[in-house]
């Protein structure tokens, strides 16, 4: 397996070096489940799926290291066998995503604001750069402040700085107990309650609202979950139905996601309801709000900015790009970083930022 992985990696290095020499744009592809995500898809496809396999997993270290092409399902199965999991709950869209794609996109599921985001669990990464060099940043340890935190920078970079060939992630033990409750609340009351309960220290690991119902997931030590459940009230949901609901939310499989135009707004967690027509799907205890098919004249970006957040056009045609525009000073820093890591602009051109 090691020899095979080395051979695959050697071939990737060859391909990337050649592309750098000939200034051939490359479109990095794991499982291709997130082709919809990003500004544009351009370049010759560079398949990364073959570079796969778990390199190291020692449950007592709480760290797993795997190659970029490793299917997420394989990683989750390995962790589950030891009662552990990826606490950022990466979403999967349709087929089985690759670890490289999960980290390059940097998306996180319902536990985002409670357990941390994908980037919070990245401990180290290996990067194949434009000139074919393999760099290692971070490591397999919990605390590491040697050098700039490039491995976290790669999380969410959509491959524009190079090929993430290997990632080390912090993993956590699965909570001993979990209980989901549903309450009938307005959106405003739900967001207010999620924040209030969090401030009280209740062991919340999911806070979502949809169509008049607030869903609260409690995770942790059995006594803590029990007493929180009594404090919150509401209707207890059986484990299977709860799992189905959180999975559908995590993987964007609720009916709302069949809409043609979907916006994803990231806001301060306690932001009041927005002045947008239509009801949102709320996640992350209020910090994430999905809107389907808003009125044609709604200026979603302006509304998000006014509320202290940003808006991402998840699906459908956005007026000025998919991602919320960056302030000029940040856009300039992006350009300077890109020029230095990828001087000929071969990696995923235009995917994270138009023209970059």
């Amino acid at each position: 397996m090691a020899a095979t992985a080395d051979a695959v990696l050697a071939e990737l290095r060859e391909r990337v070096s050649a592309a750098h020499r000939t200034r051939q744009a490359l479109r990095l592809k794991g499982s291709g489940t997130k082709d919809f995500y990003g500004e544009s898809l351009a370049g010759e496809v560079l398949e990364l799926r073959a570079h796969q396999g778990i390199v190291d997993y020692e449950p007592s270290e709480l760290v797993i290291t795997a190659r970029c092409g490793t299917p997420l399902s394989q990683i989750e199965a390995a962790l589950a066998a030891h009662g552990q999991f990826l606490a950022f709950e990466p979403p999967a869209f349709g087929a089985d995503p690759s670890l490289g794609g999960v980290i390059a996109a940097g998306l996180s599921g319902p536990r985002r604001v409670y357990a941390g985001a994908a980037r919070d669990f990245v401990l180290g990464a290996r990067l194949l750069t434009a000139n074919g060099e393999l760099l290692r940043f971070g490591g397999q340890v919990m605390k590491n402040v040697a050098g700039f935190d490039v491995s976290r920078l790669l999380c969410g970079s959509l491959g524009i700085l190079g090929v993430i060939t290997e990632v080390s992630l912090k993993v956590l033990p699965r909570p001993r107990a979990e209980q989901t409750v549903r309450l009938e609340l307005t959106a405003a009351a739900a967001v207010e309650s999620f924040n209030r309960w969090s401030a009280l220290g209740l062991p919340i690991s999911g806070g979502a609202w949809w169509q008049g119902s607030a869903w609260v997931r409690l995770s942790g030590a059995p006594p803590a979950v029990r007493s929180a459940r009594e404090g919150i009230g509401g209707e207890a949901i059986d484990a299977a139905s709860a799992q189905a609901w959180w999975d559908a939310l995590r993987h964007c499989q609720l009916p709302l996601f069949d809409s043609r135009l979907i916006w994803r707004l990231s806001l301060p967690g306690a932001a009041p309801p927005l002045s947008l027509p239509g009801e949102p799907l709320i996640d992350w205890g209020g910090a994430l709000r999905w809107y389907a098919d808003p009125a044609a004249d709604a200026d979603v970006r302006a509304v998000a900015s006014a509320a202290g957040g940003t808006a991402l056009c998840w699906r459908g045609a956005a007026p000025a790009g998919r991602f919320h525009p960056l302030p000029p000073v940040l856009a300039r820093l992006h350009r300077r970083l890109k020029e230095r890591f990828d001087p000929h602009g071969i990696f995923n051109p235009g995917r994270l930022l138009a023209g970059l």
């Binding site: 290692r136 340890v141 605390k143 402040v145 040697a146 942790g220 007493s227 940003t310 302030p327 300077r336």
Partner: protein, 484 residues
């Protein structure tokens, strides 16, 4: 440019008392918490407002004068060692708590706010700021951001990078910059992750937004003794493997307990080769459950004695020994040198034994305190700074420990930073291409290279020189480490 001219340029817009140029005024700024590195700064500025700070940067950028930022000066790697011809920019007077939103559970802070003051201010709401470096009474939030500081509760509650939501500040060119914020996962690259732990090389932070969390209603400490360090190490792994994430998991070896006990009177078992301090926090029921589990695991891992704190006073007394470990070193020896390597937990025993062998070789004593839960070692090497040979041996001893950490898959610094202290060790941990990537990041933020120059990223020449020296001395045994 002459220092007097720099001071004059700064005095055109800063009040007299914000610019220190006389030698006796500059002297207190010549070092940070790592006192073996000293350099008198050219000029010291202490702006009172963000606007003044921006003006300082604009002026220094125009005059091409290096700028070194300083928080409370408690850093342990010489990260704020001044530049002889540069400006030392103290953020100490930017020390207001701008906002605490108890409902959203965030605080907005100026960089000079001391770490502990955040938790004190949030206490009325039942909230606190989790990262708790041992210098938390004094160290500032701005410095914590620069160093990505940790503390004893990182395993469960994370480092600074996990608890800071956003920063505002300025580039060296004086341009305002906002990274991250109250809304999670904004567009673009995660530049906030780069800024945190960037040791003052990328930007100057003027506002930090942190996450506050509810103070757990109850905490209890388990103290376990082990007859040898190996079984203590195994016990640590067993706790984690048992699915337990304690609030803190600390180890002290016999030399450390012997050093602190005479004046901390913590009640440590001085016959044990190593003790573990394991804290459970949460509701009383949760804590009772977890303490029971921890006791079980430790017993099967061979703990010789096991005690559980019976009161808050006892819990704090047991902690007091650990928290006073470094001052205790100061009682044993004129000077001490605290290392900060991190290793995969499973190698704890091995590393402690290797350190014991090094003690003999360098003819210096070393006591070990250890954030065992995160594999972060703090070997404390005792030496005498008045004896130059003693310091040289201490420095080489420290470097060898760090090389061993790298060799075992760890890192040269877990929470103290590189600063000037670990520049040589950076040559060991990173390849030339990796160091070039760090330089590229630096250039992107600070093309003129004026912010904290000479820190964090060693030059090629320095690494070449260090490589030659190591071969020449032949004192370092890790011949199998990759060379450059």
């Amino acid at each position: 440019m002459a220092e007097a001219d720099i001071a004059a340029a700064l005095r055109t817009f800063l009040p007299e008392d914000c610019v220190l140029s006389r030698e006796e005024e500059r002297r207190p700024y010549e070092c940070d918490g790592l006192t073996v590195f000293r350099q008198l700064p050219g000029v010291v500025v202490l702006p009172r407002t963000e606007q003044q700070l921006q003006q300082v940067l604009l002026t220094c950028s125009r005059l091409k004068v290096p700028v070194v930022a300083r928080g409370a000066g408690t850093g342990l790697s010489g990260g704020s060692t001044p530049h002889a011809q540069g400006v030392l920019l103290s953020c100490a007077r930017l020390n207001r708590i701008l906002e605490i939103d108890a409902h959203e559970r965030i605080a907005r802070l100026e960089p000079g706010v001391p770490n502990l003051r955040v938790s004190e201010a949030a206490a009325v709401h039942g909230l606190y700021y989790a990262p708790d470096p041992s210098s938390q009474v004094a160290c500032s939030i701005g410095g914590n951001v620069a160093e990505n500081s940790g503390g004893v509760h990182c395993l469960k509650y994370g480092l600074t990078v996990h608890n800071v939501l956003g920063v505002r500040g300025y580039t060296m060119e004086g341009e305002p910059l906002e990274l991250g914020g109250r809304a999670p996962d904004g567009p673009g690259l995660d530049l906030l992750a780069l800024a945190i732990g960037s040791e003052g090389l990328l930007m100057i932070v003027t506002e930090v937004t942190v996450r506050l969390i509810p103070r757990p209603p109850c905490a209890q400490l388990v103290m376990a003794s082990f007859a040898d360090v190996h079984s203590a190490g195994t016990a640590v792994a067993a706790v984690i493997a048992g699915g337990i994430i304690p609030a803190a998991l600390e180890m002290m070896d016999r030399k450390a307990t012997a050093a602190v006990e005479p004046f901390a009177h913590a009640g440590y078992d001085l016959s044990a080769a190593a003790i573990l301090l394991i804290e459970a926090d949460g509701t009383p029921e949760e804590v009772a459950d977890q303490v029971r589990e921890i006791e079980q695991v430790l017993r099967s891992a061979g703990a010789s004695t096991l005690r559980v704190s019976g009161s808050e006073a006892e819990r704090l007394r047991w902690w007091s020994g650990r928290k006073n470990a470094f001052p205790a070193a100061g009682r044993l020896s004129p000077d001490y040198y605290c290392m900060d390597g991190t290793i995969p937990r499973r190698h704890v025993g091995e590393v402690l034994q290797a350190i014991e062998r090094m003690e003999a070789r360098y003819a210096l004593h070393c006591m070990n305190v250890f954030h065992a839960g995160d594999g972060n070692l703090h070997p404390v090497i005792l030496f005498d700074a008045n004896d130059h040979d003693s310091w040289e041996r201490a420095e080489r001893f420290g470097a060898e420990i760090l090389e061993l950490c790298v060799q075992l898959g760890g890192t040269i610094t877990g929470e103290h930073g590189v600063g000037v202290e670990k520049l040589n060790s950076m040559c060991v941990q990173f390849s030339p291409a990796e160091r070039a990537a760090f330089a590229a990041v630096k250039e992107a933020f600070d093309p003129a290279g004026l912010l904290n120059p000479g820190k964090l990223i060693p030059t090629l020449a320095r690494c070449a020189e260090y490589g030659r020296m190591r071969v020449h001395h032949g004192a370092l045994p890790h011949a199998d480490l990759p060379r450059f």
